[in-house]
Amino acid sequence: MKDQNLYERYHRQIILPEFGEEGQQKLLKAKILVIGAGGLGCPALQYLSAAGIGTIGIVDDDVVALNNLHRQVLYSVNDIGLSKAKRAAHILQQLNPEIKIISYNERLATQNALTLIDDFDIIIDGTDNFSTRYMINDACVLLNKPLVYGAISQFEGQVSVFNRQPLMGSNEAVNYRDLFPDPPKDGEVLNCAEAGVLGVLPGIIGTMMANETIKLITGIGEPLINQLLTYNALNNQVYILNLSARKETRSLIPKNKKEFLQIDYEWLCASPVQQAEVDSDIFNGMVVKGNIDVIDVRELHEMPAVNEFNHIRIPLAQLADNTSLIKSNTVIAFCQSGKRSLQAAKILSGIFGDSKKIYSLRGGIVEWKKQKQTV
């Protein structure tokens, strides 16, 4: 009876000549770990559960928030505030009670990564930050696990299969560090919370990740081994790059478990140089002394208006393109709270290097106005 049920559930893919009962049996025996049950994780999990992956692990320490729902379509308003890993496991188990789903309501860290990953055949990276992505990459290389990678930004997505030896030719397996040897620093690349993302995009990319996983398990088609696919949701352009391994990459990856445990992945992505900040007093002194460019990096509509001192307005997003407006050798950026101006200072330091002194007004214009009132 149970076998008959199984046959019925997966009938439409079993009748595919390339797939067959053999393909279904391979899926039922497979153990897949999905790290991150967010925009990419949700669609990947839905299709993998529906397809009959025998064992699925879900790692996520986050809870569902209202601003997740436009793209994390597994959840509903009733799930807000609840563990993503637990809710996803519960919902998926209803979709397919015949498979085993294990939820890990914890953050992936060096301490648990190797143990978790070692228990599964293929790892799916649906995380939202570089430190975890590099950690997963290194762990997969160390444990020799294929890694299905996906990442998104605004309207564009990337998909690849890392750490899997190509069937043809003598090429070595490529991993993420062959593309980008070192993580970008904090703030250098904006995430979805900062840069925004079209809700349907992770749906497309996450579904592609599920597709790559199914192809890897069943051996059908041509998975993106040593290839990186990019997809643009605005014009439907697909661009596939061919990748090859670098000799130098080996030296960047920890050689054993002990070395892996000693790497501080959060620190790897943290900014190496602290940007210089000035408080309101020092700022006023510098303005009086003159010979500086003060830049308001807020959007043009943002209040309060500033007419107490001379400044130019270049919103953060346009800063890199308008550096020709900056003439003085000393530059102070300010914004509302002092956060964006720090980013601005980083961008300007990247462009001008040591040729200009770049500062950020601590506490932003809000704090400056407050100080002015108390004087």
Partner: protein
């Protein structure tokens, strides 16, 4: 004209009229546009130099370089009608 001068001249002509198409992804496209074309460059190093001069926002950003869809690891000679892709890392999920 000596043969040597002819070779020099032909190299110059090829370089001068060579047009390289560059496709940019992610935030690189926000800085320089989705697609730009650069003339008078012979290899990827000179191409990147020219691009950075024209779009200062590109310097200080991380990206990989692919020539005709093959990701490269070192300076690579460009041929006429080569397509170069510059692709930044994405973190979002």
């Amino acid at each position: 004209m000596t043969l040597y001068a002819k070779i020099i001249l032909s190299k110059f002509v090829v370089r001068y009229f060579m047009s390289i198409k560059i496709i940019l992804f992610g935030k690189l496209a926000d800085i320089a546009g989705n697609s730009v074309s650069v003339k008078n460059v012979s290899d990827t190093d000179s191409l990147i130099n020219t691009l950075h001069k024209e779009y200062p926002g590109l310097s200080g950003t991380k990206y990989l370089i692919a020539v005709d869809k093959q990701v490269i690891k070192e300076n690579t000679v460009l041929n006429n009608n080569s397509t170069v892709a510059l692709l930044p890392p994405f973190s979002g999920g």
